[in-house]
Every structure is written in structure tokens, then in C-alpha cells.
Symmetry: D4
Subunit: 217 residues, 8 copies
């Protein structure tokens, strides 16, 4: 089976944009993913498989047995080892433990795009001292990725404390009126401090990619 | 002209609920308001006229010339002098200058319902030191009213710092994706710190009333 | 396993805010919850585990076997016994039987935060006599928590009857156009009687916490 | 000028449906309305002009000088005198004074469709005694039209008290989170008492028409 | 087990409103339903159990073995036989086969509230001849219940053809942009023909109840 | 003044796509429109100016005095005379008189793109006979443009009667719950008859353009 | 079992509209589908069964064993062979592999309605060269169907490149803020190039049908 | 008059975050702005006044007569001369002329924060050649700001062509279903190419600020 009729991979994306190809797995059949993985293997294109679901993992790993699978982040990276880091530091903050999978997806993505990355968890604004305790890290970073659900308030607070840009990722964590992350998304778009770049709900991959571009050498 | 056929005032509300009557002026004609004001005067019921628009003010003041008109808060209070304060302290915080009219409506309402009240302005989370500078006031208060538009992040931060309940008032201040205060409203409902009581968008009257009840003796 | 890298518990929250720590379980893995429960046990911090799902209960109880698990309210309380009650009475009203799990979560939370609490069920506005029959309880309470889905009309009716503040909790109970509790939420935010404090949809924990703060001694 | 190319009046609607023609004026030019009014006059078709704006009134009255113009209800009725009433009684309740224009449009429409009609104002659920004082009227009616903005709670309460159907009209009266009447609309659709028929926001005409059909002999 | 603490049945609803009690089953546990069914049996109150899910049926039928269970309509009626019909005819139209469960719930409810009822299926506006073929039935009815998903266009067409009121029930049937019935709901609220009474999405019970009230003798 | 820095007209659009250039006037200053009109005149590119507001008309006509201004459709056409018609017939239906401006914009656009066009008004589904009276026209057309607000039901009915494709244009005409045309838009997207192509709310230009493409020779 | 009481098939739709009947399977029971399939077989009406779910397939195939089942497109076609193609070419573009099921449903529908059809996959705007590589096909087509989720940007780009009309199908593919296809739907309705006809989310059948009508001989 | 009680300026923001103070003028009275402007003058803090409305301009310029007022961008800059540029190049693209005011606000902000900036207009995706003609500029930039209304498709296309991050600004330009910029906002959040940072609707200031941070030396 080949990818003909199901996908047209963008193998020269690395040269055109400077970053690996990414395959968004949601909605693809295992057979389609196997064909894509085989082509990735044959062409040698560095690739991230994002949003991998349990039933899809085997199909990819069968073709790319050395690939690195990160279950919590739902990510498969090939090759498994990230390149040596260049550019500025990426700091990733998760407001709560429930935001951790998305934060890990962001951190892994930035790492595989060639950045040094530090991840800190459980620094919600309900306990400001936890944020303030991290000021040193925040001010060393070239870009700060902030992952938060519920009220989405953390990016505003962080952006007010640093001069680096903040990449804000709303998550779908929360009670009913979070409406699947809408509340956090709107809060982040309305951040009262300038310097907040918003990406899609639960889109750790997009946040990590953007952070890597911002902190590029 | 009488109020027959246009309104049925709740003169015993004071005895039943313990607080003055309120007349919501939006959508009422000047003639209707004049009739209501005349009845208020004749019955001697303490009353707040809320959301008064310029064309309505004269109609009310013609019948109640001693009433106190607060233009920025769009409020007319009768009698103009609030009662002597009892109960706990009400602190009112406005995140930005643009939130001031709503914050003043809240503070005036709480004052006319018999509470001591302190109002502080421009303490948005983008400058955390401004919030932290007010910790003494925040911790003296029996209830804190927080008025904020845009990201609505301030109530979460305040609620994390005090043990008193926080009454959060979203305002319609902000860029397009605030959607008339929806963003701040949702953020406040999703506050990551417990202890946040949310009222309607721009509803300073409701916030002041609720705060007065919470801090009742 | 420790909580390092997955959570940073706020053990001094009791001293800072005066109430127990809470762990929001949704989205956390059993392993993460086990680590958190172990730390709670070791540090002796009174803690409520909220929104516990069946697959998570064992992980927590394995570390805290004496903890009190309330299945309908999806709550684990540690220690299992609430403190002796102080402050004012908290009345909790559930509009219908389907609202009972959220109402129980609110009542348990208020109890574990140190308040006396009475819970009444099935007092919807479609049978006003049921509400009016409870006037004595309603007027004895320092704060009334009202839990309702569908039209969310009960808080308006109750707030018109008492001088105490009302904490309104919308639930996701209802036909299609309740939109997961949005209808009740909006109705409560627009309550025509002042004195209604709204919290998030199905957020019994938040309502109980707020009620405990309002009725604090 | 004729109506050719701008409107095709439904003169036999009276025979087909049994009720007068209605002309929705919003968005029509004065010239178009004049042509329509002239045709109404020439054909003698009983007609209601709804949602008339100030700049349109003269155009209609110039052709139909005897027509009855009701400014608050934004309605022009021709002929001005309603038919002698038949069928059951229509009770119209307005929750607040600000809902009065819509309630009057409903009452006038029902009257011009041939029903006896009684209008009561300011019976919001925040003062239940006002509703209960009207029980006699409510139980005499064949149908009750309830007009309410804000929380839209009144139809639920009324429907729980009577065996007649309730026609609920949400109005756009309220603070920001009423979202132009959406809150009241959703509450009414989710009324916890059965027997509530909902019409469009501020649509007094539609409510009066429906009530007249329900109470037809 | 009794209903104490879980429900307060409204046994005199029949005398107060003239119709049987209804128990909304969604969100109730089998044990709660069993207790309610036992009380219904002991008190002899005619009752409809609506929105019954498979796991709940046995609990009810164990206490009320003679009750009539209608699987497609998710309804249990007790007693199983409806009363002899009085009042006017109720016509129920389902736009498509997929709308049939809701239409059957409406028809069964009206029947158990004492009305004669005729049900017609698959009369969508895409085949107008199917509607026009039913004109005789439509014009004999005292009220027409129209059940439709997707574009919700059928009530407008029917209301334009008859002088009786139309009860419109939107269903959640349709492609993505039906948004769970929102599209049909809005269309029905905006029906261009007057005389359309809208109820909640998929709420066949509410439609049948309203129709029975409208066509009461 | 030139268009440099404010617009880059697409003069070869005629050759690339086969249709005239269009200038969307909303949000442009009179000075900008004058510069654009001057360039249109100098280059001789056939152009439609859409959504022209009163204050903008003079600026365009000063540079293109021969242009044809259609006030109700808010359209300026240059050259004023449409080309000789080719291709199939375009039928345009307006459900109500209030939908006429949008319908005229559609008809004028199709005409200036080279099609024969017939416009019929006031054929709403509330009076089906008006639609059925036009069956001959509808079945002669190569494409039918249907313009409707409120319930947006007309496209479903028309699409069920003809084999030609239907271009549906929702308008913002209607009561509150039309939400600016959203109700009609959703209804049209959910049309129960296949063959309905939906364009933006009030977008007569887009509908006319699409119809001209569909009926191209 | 017959279709009486569950469906009224439109067997003369072929003569009236010129295209086969379609049966929307969502929400129908296997027994209902079996009865419909039997009637289709007996009457010999060409029919498409759309949105078939796994549990429904056997019921249809038991009655129509020769029918063609396309699992990925969730479509059963009877007769299985499409008619010989007439009219213009239909090009179908899928922006990504995840959009393929909807694209196949569109292509199969157009084919069974008698058109020649070419399907191209993975031509998203993030790699413009993939679109530009297909210019030859795009300009040969009489109509282009564009299937895209996420940002829904492809129809705008394609419409700017061709003179044929574009049928745009939003899909529910994407991260949280796609809101089930709403983002793509709105983008397509707001396409900055004219000539874009939008259908419902994931509605490949509707798109294929519309394309077949547009490209009819 | 002083700013006491109306605003608390953040004069050390420059030192803390490295960029000038900004005053959001919407909702402030001329008197408040005058007091703020006077304090700015007295303290010498570089400041941008954003969203200035006509009635506010004089109040600011009276205190800061040398300030630079940019009417189209609704911006007042003090001091009027930007600092000498450092860091990377900022490219600003406006999809249409109607997006120009927001694009100018972005460009001016970036310039006053110390960046070199180039602005290009009318490069919508409906004419891809206009985008492709600018590839040289796009690839020289350290960050690209893309301002677009309607379908919001341009950021996806640009992000697919460059390796620099893209700051996407949705504007409220468009027909009804743009819903005040919501359509463009959602499209940008769902951009199918990674590397897109979204800011609030019409928020040129925020975009320019973010771009300046990203391209900082």
C-alpha cells in the first residue's frame, strides 16, 4: 500500500520552512497511517505524528519501530532523538496537573524542533507565590508557553511579569461553563497585558512549534 | 398620573428583605418614571433608581428634588444620604479606569444598603504589584467586589489571596472577542480559586447589593 | 512516586485562606492521584478530592483508607469527619431529584468547611407550595444554596423571599435547549431579584465553598 | 404607485386562516408602506401594521387616516375598532414595566383578533405575592400570555398554578448577559412546568395571535 | 425505601392543574425511580415516566407491573390505558422517520391526557404534495403538533394552511450545522406565519401536554 | 491621489475568472474610493461597487459620472449598461418585501455578469399558493436565487419543486431570535431538500455572482 | 413489515426532480430501514442510503443484496452501478486525508447522479504548490467541490483561481476551537472570493448532489 | 485634576517589561484622559494612547501638544518620534483596504516599540499572485503580521510560505456571518499551517506589540 490517493506528504517542508513534517492522526485509519509511516521511513523525512490514538500507535510503530512514542502527549517522534538545541530557551508552564498532557506535547514539539525547553507544572494564579517563585526561569526564557484551562488567567499574569512573548494554550479542562475550553480561549484573547499569542484549544503541538519559531537562532 | 397600570411598587420589600426598593430605569418612559418617583416620595420608601439615562434624570428629580444623582454610576438615590454603616467592610476593586462606572455603582449601592465601603482603581493583573500593594485592605474586608473586563482574571487572583468571598462583576470593556463582556463572564465563572460569586455583566447594582447582604451584621 | 513534576500542593492554603486544600480529579491519572494522596497523608493536610471518577477512587483510597467517599457527590473527604460547625446555617435546595448529586456535593463541602447544613430536595417552582412550605428554613439560614437545572428559575423566587444571599448553581439537567446547563446559567445571572451569586455549571464544590465563606463566623 | 413588484398581499387570508392580514413594517420604505396601505384601503382587508417606526407612521396614516395608531405597541390597526369579543378570555401579564410595550402589542393583537383581554403589569417572581394576588384572573383565563425579560422565570411559575396553556414571550430587557433576550428565551423553552408555548423575542404580535387562536370559540 | 430526601411528588397536581403527574427520569438512579414508582402505586396517582433509559425500565416496572412501556417513545404510562378522549382532535406530524420517537412521545402524552390523536409521518416540505395530501386532517384538528429536525420549515408551512394553532417541536436530527437541534429551534421561533408555539428540542412530552391543554374541552 | 498603499486592483480578474472586478465599499474612506474609482476609469475595467453607503456615493460618482447607482441595492455599476445576456435564466425570489434590497443586489449582479434575470417578490411559505403560482418560472430557470429572512424556509420548499440548483441568501430580517440572520442561515444550511447552495447573510452580490457562474453558457 | 406509518417514499422524485431518492439513515432503526429497502426493491426506484452506520448495513443489504456499500463514505447505492456520465466534469478536492470520507461521499453521489468525477486529496493551503499543481484539473471542471476542515481556507483560494463555481463542504476535522466544523463553515461563508456555495458540515451527499445539478447537461 | 482615584499608571513598566506604557482610551472620559496625559507629560514616560475616539483627542493633545496623532489608526504616540529601530524586520500585510486601519495601528505600534516595519496592502488570497509577488519581503521578515477579515484565510497561506512566525489579527470586516470578526478569528485559530499566533479582533496594538517582542534583538 502506498500513500497515493490518501495523502501527499510535504517532504521538502524542511527545506521550505525549516522544520519537520507533521502528520495529524485524528480521523485517519490505521492503514492510512501505516502507508504514511512507510513513506516517511523510505524518504527519511523527520516527522512528528500528533494526536495519535491507542488504535493507531501500532500501525505507525510497525513501520517505524525506532520512533519515540510519548503516550501522555499522544505524540510519536521520528527520529526519536531531538536535534541538539539551538536558539533561545523555551519555558513551558502548566497551570494544573490536568493541563500536563498538552504542556508535554508543547515541550516535546519545541524540543524536536531544536530548542532547549524547561517544563514547570501546577503554577495556577490561585497560588500566586508559585508563579512568583519561578520568576528567574520566566525571565531567562526567550519565549514562555503557558498552558491553562478554566479561567485562562495565567497568561495575563505571566505576560505582565516578563518582556518575552507568551504563547497561550487554552485547554478543555474545567466545569460546564468552560464550554470545552472556550472560556480559557476567550480570556487569553482578551489578556489585559500585551504580548500574548493564542493558539487553538488543547493544541500543544501548535504552541510548541510557534515557540520554536519565536526562539529560533 | 399614577403608577396604576404601569408599575406595582414593592413598598414592603424593606420589611420583607431588609433593603430599599430599586427601580430599573432602562426601557421606561420619563412619564412612567415620574409617576413612580411621585409614589416613592408620597410613600417615603427608600429607593435606588438604577441605569438612569440622561433623558430620564429630570423626570425623577422633578418629583424627588433632594435625591442624589451620580452621573457616572447612572444612579439616583433617595434619600440622598446613606444610612450609618453597619456590618463588615466592603472593598471594591476596579481592574481599569474603564471599569470605574460599574465599580462606582457597586460601591454606592453597598453604601446605601448600609455598609462601609472602600473603592480602589486600576489594579489589573498585568501589574501584580498593584494588587499585592492592596493586600492589607483586601484582608480587612468582609467581602471583596472585583470589577473587571477583558480577561476577567482579577477575581481568580484576589480569591487566591483572601479568605473572604469575592463578588465578581464582568464588564463589557474590551476588544472584539470580549463579545460584550462574555469573555470576562466566562473567565469569572471558571475562576480557578473557589470563593467567587459572579453577577451579570456591568451589573454594579447587583454586585453592591450582594456584597451588602454578605457583609450584613 | 512523588508529586514532583506533576503537582505542587498548596499545603499552607489552610493558613492563608482558612479552608482545606482541594484536588480537582478530572483529567488526572490514577498514578498522579495516588502520589497526591500519599503526600496529603504524609503532610496531614485536610483535603477534598472533587469530581472523582470510578477508576480513580481506588487510587486515592489505597493511600488514604480512612477517607470518606461519597459516591453520588463524587467527593472524597479526608479526614472523613467534618469539623464541629461554626458560623451561620447553610440551607441547600435542590429543585429536582436529578439535581441531587450536585446539591450533595455542595452540602458536603460546606459541612467539611465547618458549617451546619440542611438539604431539601424537589422544591421546583412548578409547585410553589413546596417552596413556600420551606420558608421557615429559608429565613433561618445565613445563606441559601439553590441548585437547579432547566429554567433555573428557583434562585429568583427564593431571593425574593429572604434577606440572606443566595448562591445559585446551574445544573446540566434538561432537554436539548438547556445546552448543557447554559439556559439555567443565564437565567440565574439574570435573576430579577438582587442577591444571587452564580457559580459554574454543576459546580457543587464551588457553591459549598462560597456558602461556607459567606456564613463564616 | 401600486404594490406590484414590492408586495403581494394575502387578501384571502381572512377566509383561509380566519384572521386579519398583518404587515411587518421593519425594513420597508415609507413609499412601500404607502402603496400597501392604499391597497388595504381599496380592498377593505382588515390589517395590522406591526413594528411601525416613527418615520413610517405618516405614510400609513396618510392612506388610512381612520386607522388606530398605538405608539407604545408600535402597532397600527385598521379598522381601528376591534370586533366584538368571542371565545375565551386572554390574560396578559407583564413581569415588569419595561416589558409593557410588548405586552400591549400582544393584548392589542388578541383584541383585534376578537378576544376579550385583560392586561396586568409588574408581577415579577421577585415578589411572589403579586403573582398570587392575581390567581383569580389567571384561573379565569382560557390562555395566559406571560411577557418577561431578564431570567424569564415567570412562565414557569404561572404554568405551575393554572391548567390553561401559557404563551411565553421573552423580551430583550436586561443586563449584558441577557444577550438581547436569549437568557429569557432559553429559560422559557426549559420551563420546568409543562404547558408553556414560546414565541420569538419581543414578538408581542405573535403571542397575541397565538393566544387568540388557542382561545378561539 | 421511600421517596423521603429524594423527591416530593405532587399528588394533587391532578386536582390543581387537571393533568397527571410526570416524572422526568434522566439523571435519576434506578433506586430513586423504584421508590417513586412505589409511591405512585400506593397513592394511585396517574403518572407518566418520561425519558426512561433501558437501565431504568425494570426498576419502574417492578413496582408498577401493569404500566405501559413504549420503548421508542421512552415513556412509561400508568395506568396503561388512557382515559376516554374529550376535547378537540390533536394531529401530530413527523417531518421524517427519524423524528418518529419524539412524535410518538407527543401523541402518547396527548392521548394519556385525554385527547383523540392522529399521527402522520414523513411529510417534510421537500415533498409538498405529502403535506397538501393531509389538508383534510390538518383542518379537522383543534391543534397540530409538528415535529421536525434539520431546517425546521414544516411548522411555517402548516401554520400558513390552517387556522388552528401549531405546536412546533424541533428535533436534534440533522447534519453538523443543526447543532443538536438549534437550527430547527431557531427556524420555528422565527416562523413567518403566526400561530406557532415552540417547545424545547426533542421534548415530545411537553408538546403533547401543551396540545392537550389547547384542545381541552 | 492614487491607489498606491491603499489597494491593488485585480484588473486581469476578467481574463482570469471571466467576470468584472468588485470593490467592497464597507470600511473604506471616500478618499480611498475616489482613488479606486479613478483607476477603474483610467484602466477601463468593468467594476461593481458593492455595499455603498450614502457618504461614499458621491466620491465614486465624481470619478465615474456615467456609472449606474442603485440606491436600494447599495450598488454602483460601471459601465452602467449590463452586457447582452447569455447562458441560462436566473430567477430571483424574495420571500418578503423587507428582503427586496438584497434580492435586487443579487439580480443586478447576475445581470451585470451577463445573465437574463427575473425577480419575484413576496412569495413566503406562509402563503404556499404564491410559490406554487410561480412554478412555471421556477422550472424555466437554470438556477433559482431565494432570498429570505426569519425562518429561512423558502429554499427547502423551492428546492423540492425544481431540478435546478437553488442559491439561498439568508437576510437579517426578523425578530430578536433571528440573531441577525443566523436563524435563516442555519435553516438554509439544514435544508431538507438537497440542491441548496448557501451564501453569507445579506450577501446579494455573492448570490448573484454564484448564480451567474452556475448559469454560464 | 411495510413502510406504512414509518416512511412515505417519494418514488416520483426522479421524474419530478430528475435525480434518485435518498434515504437519510441516521436515527432510523434496522427494522425501518429493512422495510424501506424492501419497498425500494419492489418499486425499482434508484436510491442512495446515506449516513449508514455499521448496525444498519445488514438490514439494507438483506433486502438489496446487489447494492453497493462504500464503508468509508457510509453510503449504499442501489443499483450499484452509476449511470453513464453526462454533463460537465466534477472535481472534488480534499484538503487533508482526514477529510477523505466526506470527499468520497460527495464524489460517489455526483457519480451516481450521472457525472464524471475526479477526486484529489491532500491539497491544503499550507502547501500552495499542491493546489497550483492541480490548476489544469481545476480549470477543466464545470464545478469544483472543496472539502476542508480546520480553517476552511481552501475554497477561497480555489475560487480565486477558476471561473467555475465552487461547492464548499466544511468538515468537523480539527482542534477544539473548530467547534465541530463551525470554524470552517464560517470561513467558507465569508470566502473573500465570490463564487463559493456552502453546504452543511460533513454533508458530502449534499455537496455531490448540488455539484451534479450545477454540472447538469 | 490628578489621576488619583481614576488610574494608577505603570511608569516602571518600561524598566520591567522594556516597552512603553499604553493607555486604552475606550470608556474613559476626556477629563480622565487629560489627567492621565498630564501625568505622562510630568513623568516623561513614553506612552501610546490606543483606541482614541474623536471626542478624546483634544483632551490628550491639550496636555501633550507634541504628541503624534494617527487618525486612521486611532493612536496617539508620545513622544511622536519612534526610537531608532533595532532587532528584526516586521512585515505587516493587510488582506484588504478595509483592514488598513488595524494594520496601521499594528505597524505604528511595532515602530514605536523600536522595530523596522514594512506595510503591504490588498494581498488577499482571492488573488494569490499578489501574495506570491511579496515572497521576498515575507522571507526577509523576522515576523509577519497578517491582518484580515472575512474568511481569515491569509495567515494559513502565509504561514505555509515562510519559516518566521505569523501574528494573525482578525478584523470585524465582512458580511453578516462574519459575526463581528468571529469567523476570521476562528479560522486563524484553526490555521492548517503551524506557526500562527492569534490576537484579539481588531487589536492592531496587541499585534504590533507581540511582533516587536518576537523580533526583539
Amino acid at each position: 500500500m502506498t500513500t497515493e490517493g490518501i495523502a501527499e506528504l510535504d517532504h521538502d517542508r524542511a527545506s521550505r520552512r525549516g522544520y519537520p513534517e507533521a502528520v495529524y492522526c485524528a480521523g485517519k485509519t490505521p492503514a492510512q497511517l501505516a502507508a504514511i509511516a512507510a513513506e516517511v521511513r523510505d524518504r527519511g523525512t523527520p516527522t512528528l505524528f500528533t494526536r495519535v490514538e491507542p488504535g493507531q500507535v501500532e500501525a505507525v510503530l510497525a513501520e517505524l519501530p525506532q520512533a519515540g512514542y510519548h503516550e501522555d502527549a499522544r505524540l510519536i517522534a521520528w527520529p526519536p532523538e531531538p536535534p541538539a538545541p539551538t536558539g533561545g530557551l523555551v519555558a513551558v508552564l502548566a497551570a494544573g496537573t490536568s493541563d500536563l498532557p498538552v504542556a508535554r506535547e508543547a515541550a516535546l514539539t519545541a524540543t524536536h524542533l531544536g530548542r532547549a525547553c524547561e517544563l514547570v507544572v501546577d503554577v495556577g494564579v490561585a497560588g500566586l507565590h508559585r508563579v512568583l517563585n519561578r520568576l528567574d526561569l520566566l525571565r531567562r526564557a526567550r519565549v514562555v508557553v503557558v498552558v491553562a484551562g478554566m479561567d485562562g488567567a495565567l497568561p495575563s499574569v505571566v505576560a505582565g511579569l516578563v518582556s518575552a512573548p507568551v504563547v497561550a494554550v487554552p485547554t478543555s479542562v474545567g466545569y460546564g461553563a468552560s464550554f470545552g475550553g472556550l472560556a480559557a480561549l476567550l480570556a487569553m484573547l482578551n489578556a489585559c497585558a500585551p504580548g500574548v499569542a493564542v493558539v487553538n484549544i488543547d493544541n500543544g503541538y501548535g504552541a510548541g512549534h510557534l515557540a520554536a519559531q519565536i526562539s529560533a537562532p
